[in-house]
């Protein structure tokens, strides 16, 4: 009976987590691009960490501590490294959490997830989840006006000096 239930669960999971399944997201990592020589290999431990981060994100977003690591299913891991994941609803059996909730949870905690893997928005991509781009740092006064003001004052002072010198010379 145990074997039967296990196999049923496995089949159910396989049904839920498929490429282009409902509420499933594709993730793509570019570890070698980001870290070069310090790149780590993607193995089962990294996958465990990923599941933990997604569960963490869901917990923070829903403010309920019910999502378990076992609720996050990964499948179709390729050499790229890319894979699909889906989050199952802990309260209801064999159903997935709606994609919009997962997306909102990931967006809220994107920074934490990126940092856990030493990656960035560009190298840890959740396809279909757009990230908010950070605006460039803008100082309160535009820098160019400051430099302009400095040069302007120098030139005006110079002209004034020359005009005064010219008048004085003429008086002599």
């Amino acid at each position: 009976v145990l074997l039967l239930t296990l196999s049923v669960v496995a089949i159910a999971h396989a049904e839920l987590c498929k490429p282009d399944a409902q509420n499933a997201f594709k993730v793509r990592l570019s570890i070698k691009t980001a870290l070069g020589d310090n790149a780590y290999a993607w193995d089962a431990n990294e996958e465990y960490l990923f599941k933990a981060m997604v569960a963490f994100a869901m917990r923070r977003y829903t403010s309920r501590s019910t999502t378990q690591i076992s609720n996050v299913l990964l499948c179709n891991v390729t050499d790229r490294v890319s894979f699909w994941f889906v989050v199952t609803d802990p309260s209801k059996n064999v159903t997935t959490v709606p994609g919009s909730k997962v997306e909102a949870a990931i967006r809220m905690n994107r920074n934490r997830i990126n940092n856990a893997f030493l990656l960035s928005d560009k190298t840890l991509q959740f396809l279909k989840i757009t990230s908010t781009l950070s605006p460039p740092v803008e100082p309160s006064t535009p820098v160019w006006l400051i430099v302009f003001g400095v040069v302007l004052c120098l030139i005006v002072a110079g002209i004034a000096f020359l005009v005064v010198a010219g008048i004085q010379q003429r008086k002599k």
Binding site: R80, W144, F148
Partner: protein, 592 residues
């Protein structure tokens, strides 16, 4: 005759530096490399040097000699040669006036970029974000961040000439600053700054040397240099090559504006202007070649950078589509992997192929650019990819400023010298007032070029204000000196001044070769205008993110006609007025 003491250059070196500072201008940096690229690479140097010897040196010597002999600005000098020629001087002043109206806007743009170079990252390195921060500004996506910065943030250009728009206050401020710098540096009208020409002449060379060292050490620079210097000798049979060489020499030396006459008029009469003419023209040409070496290493770097980015984009696309391991696709095995993927996954590959661009280094190198596009877009694109871009950016725009201001000083001298020499005006106003008034009027008119459609008006002035008129002016000058004043009289004057007569080379060039060359250039320009029919211009289309060609509206064509007519008509009008005045005098004499 009472001769008031004329201010003189402190020493001949100052004079040479002033001429170099005037002649070596933006054209050496942004036009010569373009011509080299278009007309045969290394092979272009052959017609270039032939034209230098045939028209450059002789005409330069002619103008310097006239100025030094007559010791007057252009109006006075030509009046002395023949009273019927006062129109030539006036035409020179009019052309110089038009030039100073629009040329200083370039300095304003250089100031704008210079002030913006003190930021990290450089403002033209990245696109600004759109309003809801999910992506980049749409116009910037379609084109590149450097083009966006030039067309939108600097010029705020309108879609066509008719849509004038408002004056951009930031550009207006920079323009006013540029004019203040000119007023400050104008060497003849303030007591203590003729030494400024030392700085404006030598600083560009320092920057060019720094850029040469930096440029040659950039990755991919060699590609650009090889591309430029491989001579394509078949271009020598193209008449446009020879015409471009002739026009480049002609305009690069700044003949016909009256600046050279003005500068030479402040010389000691015994100054050896023959030697100086040769020196200045050789240095001018050498600088052009030097600048194009720098430009082509920068081109090579930019082209290689873009080519490698293109390849990397293709690699990324393929890796993502087929989920291949990182590092399995490199630039070297790309073509083999493409064939392999095409064979194993034909359907997916076929879907992907419209996005797979064919990256080509030649195509990148072939993009030949000249003018403000080269100076402000291509160079700033190359700079943003260098290390410590702020330093190179500051150096580069300071160099552009030195080149531009050096030429502006020559220009204002061309206007102010005849005005202060003329007894009519100089008696009533002191020279500071005259120079202040001229600069102020030019600045106010220059505000037109800071409007949203300003760049289109700039192109009009740049293409038509000085081209035909100068050819006519210099032609009349040469014919006047050789045939009206008389070449023997001129020889004698030169003998008194520098102690020896000009040899047969100079005389043949002055009397036959240079006038013939100018006449053929003149005919070429006229036929070109007639054949192409309506005149067109390049307008920036923000929706597409690229330049489109449009026809000039009626009033713009009228302005073009006015520009050309205003200066060329001065010559016959001047002769006519003198004729009438002489007739009236002759008629009034018997009644006395």
């Amino acid at each position: 005759a009472m001769e008031k003491s004329r201010p003189l250059w402190d020493n001949p070196l100052q004079f040479v530096f002033a001429c170099i500072s005037y002649a070596v201008g933006l054209g050496n940096v942004w036009r010569f490399p373009y011509l080299c690229q278009m007309y045969g690479g290394g092979g272009f140097l052959i017609p270039y040097f032939i034209m230098l010897i045939a028209e450059g040196m002789p005409l330069l010597y002619l103008e310097l000699a006239v100025g030094q002999r007559m010791r007057q600005g252009s109006i006075g000098a030509w009046k002395i040669i023949s009273p019927y020629l006062c129109g030539v001087g006036v035409a020179s002043v009019v052309v110089s006036f038009f030039l100073s109206m629009y040329y200083n806007v370039i300095n304003a743009w250089a100031f704008w970029y210079l002030f913006h170079s003190f930021q990290d990252p450089l403002p033209w390195a990245t696109c600004p974000l759109n309003s809801n921060r999910t992506g980049y500004e749409e116009e910037c996506e379609k084109t590149s961040s450097t083009q966006y910065f030039w067309y939108r943030e600097t010029l705020n250009i309108s879609p066509s000439l008719e849509a004038s728009g408002s004056v951009q206050w930031e550009q207006a401020l920079c323009l006013m600053l540029a004019w203040e710098v000119v007023v400050f540096c104008e060497p003849r009208f303030f007591p203590s700054f003729p030494q400024v020409v030392y700085v404006t002449a030598s600083l560009p060379y320092c920057v060019l040397i720094i850029y040469l060292i930096r440029g040659l050490t950039l990755h991919g620079a060699v590609n650009g240099l090889v591309y430029m210097f491989t001579p394509k000798l078949e271009q020598l049979s193209n008449p446009k090559t020879w015409i471009s060489a002739a026009t480049q020499i002609f305009f690069s030396l700044g003949l016909g504006f009256g600046s050279l006459i003005a500068f030479a008029s402040y010389n000691e009469p015994s100054n050896n202007c023959e030697r100086h003419a040769v020196i200045v023209s050789l240095i001018n040409s050498a600088t052009s070649i030097f600048a194009s070496i720098v430009t082509f290493s920068i081109y090579g770097f930019k082209a290689t950078f873009n080519y490698e980015s293109c390849i990397n984009k293709v690699i990324l696309l393929l890796m993502n589509a087929f989920d291949l391991e990182e590092g399995s696709l490199t630039a070297d095995n790309l073509s083999e992997m493409k064939d392999y993927l095409m064979a194993t996954h034909p359907q997916e590959y076929a879907q992907l192929s419209p996005q797979l661009k064919n990256c080509s280094l030649e195509a990148e190198l072939d993009t030949a650019v000249q003018g403000t596009g080269l100076a402000f877009i291509v160079y700033s694109e190359a700079i943003k990819n260098m290390e410590v871009p702020q330093l190179y950016s500051v150096l580069y725009f300071v160099m552009l400023l030195m080149l531009g201001i050096g030429s502006m000083l020559g220009n204002t001298a061309a206007i102010l010298t005849p005005l202060t020499d003329s007894k009519v005006i100089a008696a009533r106003f002191p020279k500071e007032v005259i120079s202040g008034a001229v600069c102020f009027i030019n600045c106010v008119i220059g505000l037109i070029f800071t409007m949203e459609a300003g760049n289109y008006w700039f192109d009009i002035f740049n293409d038509y204000a000085a081209t035909l008129s100068l050819l006519l002016i210099v032609l009349v000058e040469t014919i006047a000196v050789c045939y009206i004043y008389g070449i023997r009289r001129f020889e004698k004057d030169l003998h008194t001044m520098i102690g020896r007569k000009p040899n047969w080379y100079w005389k043949i060039m002055w009397a036959f070769v240079s006038p013939l060359l100018i006449i053929s250039l003149f005919i070429f320009y006229l036929t070109d205008y007639i054949v192409t029919g309506t005149l067109q211009y390049q307008a920036w289309d923000a929706t597409q993110g690229q330049l489109v060609t449009r026809d000039y509206p009626g009033y713009a064509l009228a302005v073009i006609g006015l520009l050309v007519a205003a200066s060329t008509m001065c010559i016959p009008l001047g002769a006519l007025l003198t004729l009438i005045r002489k007739r009236l005098k002759r008629e009034s004499v018997p009644t006395v």
